[in-house]
Amino acid sequence: MRSALGYLAIAVGTAGSVLGIATLGAGLHLRRDSLLRAGRRYVGVVFVAAICAFAIMESALFAHDFSIKYVAGNVARATPGLYTFTAAWAALEGSILLWVLALTGYLAVTTWHFRARATDPLVAWATIVALGVTLFFFALMLGPANPFEELSRVPVDGTGPNPLLQNHPLVAFHPPMLYLGYVGFTIPFSFAVAALITGRFGEGWLADVRRTTLVAWAFLTVGIILGAWWSYEVLGWGGYWGWDPVENASLLPWLTGTAFIHSVMVQERRGMLRVWNISLVLATFCLTILGTFLTRSGVVESVHSFSESSIGPWLLAFLGVVALGCVALISWRADKLRSPGRIDSPVSREAAFLVNNLLFAGFALVVLTGTVFPLLAEAFQDRRLTVGEPYFERMGVPIGIALLFFMAVGPLLPWRATSGDVLRRRLLVPAWVGAITLVVLVVAGADGVAQVVAFSLGAFALTSIGRTVVIGIRARRRARAESVPVAAVRMVRGNTRLYGGLIVHVGVVLVAVALAASQGYVVKREVTLTEGESATVRGYTLTYLGTEIDRSPQKTTVKALVDVEGLGEYAPAISTFPNSRGGIGTPSVHTGFREDLYLTLISSPNETGTVTLGVQVNPMIVWLWIGGGVMVLGTIVALIPARRRSRVPVTSESPESPDSELVEAVEVAT
C-alpha cells in the first residue's frame, strides 16, 4: 500500500515536472502570459509530491514495512528512532528522494520570491531548467532508483543501516546540510542557463541569484565541516579529512562556488568577467553532479561507498548532456558575452579577485585531477592506484597559503587602481603584525615552514580585517555622535555584505590556523596497558581502569575505561553490529581550546587483560569547528538585507579636506 502510494507521489512529481516544462515552454513560444503564470503552479505540485513521497518513506521506515526493499535494507527492528529517521538518506534511493525534496523546496521558494515576475522570460526559462533537473531526479526514482520498490519475499527483520551510519547523531545533520548545499546550486545554474538562452547576461541575473548562491554555499560549508567533524568523532582515525574521493567531490563545487561569490562582485561593479562567472556557475553545478556520480556509481574506491548501484550510467549521461549543453550555450553566445570593462591596474581589488579566482580554480583542478587520476590510470594502463594525501598536500598547501595572502590583501585594495602611498599606509600595520608573528615563531623555534607561514599570514589577515573595522567605526563616530557598539552595529547593518564577508574571512583564518596546527604538531602514540597500569603521553597520564561491555539488540559495545589525570574518565570503545563483521571504533575525546586528547581503543582486552589504546594529541582542532561556525555566522550577516548604503558624510562635520581614513572607509565600504 505504502509502496504504491509512494510510487504514485513520484509519478505525480514526474508528471508535474513535465507539464510545468511544457506549459512554460508553450507560454514562452506563444508569448502568452497566462500560460507562464499557469506553468509556475506546477512547481507547487512538484513540491507537494516530493513532500508526500518523503513522508511516506518515513512512515514506512517507522512502521518497519519490510515489503519495501529500501526499508528492509536500511532499518532493523533494533534500530533506534533517530537512526530509523536518518535511514531515509542512508542509501542511494532515499538520498535521491531527499535530494528531490530539497530541490523542489528551493524551487518553490524561488518561484514564490519571483511571483511578481512570473511573466519575465528569464524567470520562466530558469524555472524550466530547474524543473528539467527535477524531472531527471524524479525519473531516476521512477526507474532505476525507485525507493518504493517491493521485495518478492518479505524478510522478518531488516538489515539495519550501515554501522557507520548508526553510530553518531551527526549523521542526522551532515548529509542533509551537504545536500542543501549541492542542490542549492541548481538555482544559480538555472538562472545562468536562462541568461544565456535569453541573451540577458548583463548583471541582472547575478543580483537575482546572489542570495540563493550564498545560502547554498553556506549549507555546503556547514555540510563539509560537519563531515569533517563526523569523520573525527566517528571514524576514530584521529583525522578529519582524508582526501577521500567523496570528500573531494564535496570540496570541488565549494571551491568553484567560493570563486564565484568573489568574482561576481567584479562583474557587478565593473561589468567584467562575464564568461568566467557564467562558467563558474555552470561548472559548480556540473561538479555537484560529478560528485553524485562518483559517490554513487562505485567507480572510485571510497569510504563512502554505502550503496553502489546501477544509476551510474544515468548520472553520467545527465552530466554529459548538461556539460556539453553548457559548453554549446557559451559558445553560441560567445560574441555577446564579451565584457565591456578591463582591468586597469594589477594592484586593484578586481585584480586581487582575479588572482583569487585563478587560485580557487587551480585548487579545484588539482583536486579534480587527484580524484579522477586513478580512473585515467586504470583506463589507460589497466592498474589500480590511489592518489594519496602527499599529492594533495604538496599541491594544496602552497595554493592555500597564497589564498590566505590574497584574502588578507584583497579587501584593502581600492577598485580600479591605487598608488604606492595608499597601499603602504593600508598594509603597514597588518604587515608589521604578520612579520612580528613570523619572527616570534621562528625565534621560539616553531617547526614547519607551512605552519609558520600560515600563522603569520593569519595574523596579517586578522589585523587587516581589524583595521578595516576600526577605521569604519572611527569614520562613523566622527560623522555622528554614536557610541562604539552602536556605531559598530549600524556600520554592519549598513553594509552587511562587506562586514559579513569579513566575518567569513575571520572564520577562514581560524580554520587555516587550526588546519596548520593540527596537521603539523600532532602527537600519535600507541600504549598497551594492563588493568591499573599507567602511561604518560605528552603530559597526560592515563590509567587503564578496566573494561565495560554494553549489549543491546542494535550493537555490542566494548569500552575501555581510562582515567586521565586531572581530566576525569574517558571510554574509547569498539562496537560490533549484527549486520557487519568488523568492529566500529568510537573515539573518546577531551576537547580543549589549545588541544584535544583523542583516545581510541585499538584492541579489546585479550586473555592477559591488556588493551592497546591509541593516544593522539591534536592541537587546536576545536578552532576548526569554531571557524566553521564563524564562517556560517558571517554568511548569515551577509544575507541580511543592508538597511541603507552607508555613505559616510564627508561634508558638514568635516569641512576641511577629507583625510585618508575617511576616504578609505568610504572606499572599502563601497
Binding site: S152, R153, P155, G320, A334
Partner: protein, 177 residues
C-alpha cells in the same frame, strides 16, 4: 573563431574524453574465474538443516555450488529467483550439489524462510563462520563453484544470475544438463 569559442570547443572535447573514461569504469560485476579464492582448496564440513553431514572430502568428484546468504540480506532476496531457476534446472543432476550456507542469522528465521519459500536445496548454518572463513568470504551473497577436483573454479562476490551460475559451473567442467 572567437577565443571563447575555441576554449569552449577544447572544454567540450575534454568533457567527452572524460565521459568516455568514466563510462569505461562503470563496473559490470561479472563472476570471475581468476584471482580471489579461485584455485584454492576449501576445507569444510557442515551439517544441513535436514541433519546430513556434508564435508569437502566426501564431495570430491562432484561439482559443488556454494551460496552464502541469509534472510535479512536484500541482495540475497534479489538473487533468490535466479537460484530457484538454476536449482530447478539441475536438481536431478547427480554430479551437482547445491549448498546454501547461512551467515549471521538465526536458525528459526532460516527455517521459516526455507519453509515459506519452499527452498529445495541443502541449507546449512555456519554458526562459528568456519565455512565462510574456509572460502575467504567477505559478505553475502557470495557464490563459489568447487570443481570435482575440490578446487574453487569460479566465484561471484555479489548477486548471481542464472547465466552467471551456468558459466561458473561450465568453468568447473560440470553440470551440462
Amino acid at each position: 573563431m572567437s577565443r571563447v569559442r575555441v576554449v569552449a570547443l577544447v572544454v567540450g572535447a575534454i568533457v567527452v574524453a572524460f565521459g568516455v573514461v568514466l563510462a569505461l569504469n562503470v563496473d559490470s560485476g561479472s563472476p570471475t574465474t581468476d584471482g580471489g579464492f579461485v584455485g584454492k582448496r576449501p576445507d569444510y564440513s557442515v551439517r544441513t538443516l535436514d541433519g546430513d553431514l556434508l564435508a569437502s572430502d566426501e564431495l570430491v568428484g562432484k561439482t559443488v555450488v556454494v551460496n552464502f546468504w541469509n534472510t535479512w540480506c536484500i541482495p540475497c532476496i534479489d538473487e533468490a529467483p535466479a537460484l530457484d531457476a538454476f536449482y530447478e534446472e539441475h536438481k536431478d543432476d547427480p554430479d551437482l550439489v547445491f549448498l546454501g550456507v547461512v551467515r549471521d542469522d538465526t536458525e528459526s528465521a532460516v527455517t521459516a524462510y526455507v519453509t515459506e519459500y519452499d527452498v529445495g536445496w541443502q541449507i546449512a548454518m555456519d554458526p562459528d563462520s568456519r565455512t565462510a572463513l574456509s572460502f575467504g568470504v567477505t559478505g553475502q551473497p557470495e557464490t563459489f563453484v568447487v570443481g570435482p577436483d575440490g578446487v574453487v573454479a569460479a566465484e561471484q562476490r555479489f548477486r548471481v544470475s542464472v547465466e552467471d551460475l551456468e558459466a561458473m559451473v561450465q568453468a568447473a567442467g560440470g553440470g551440462t544438463s
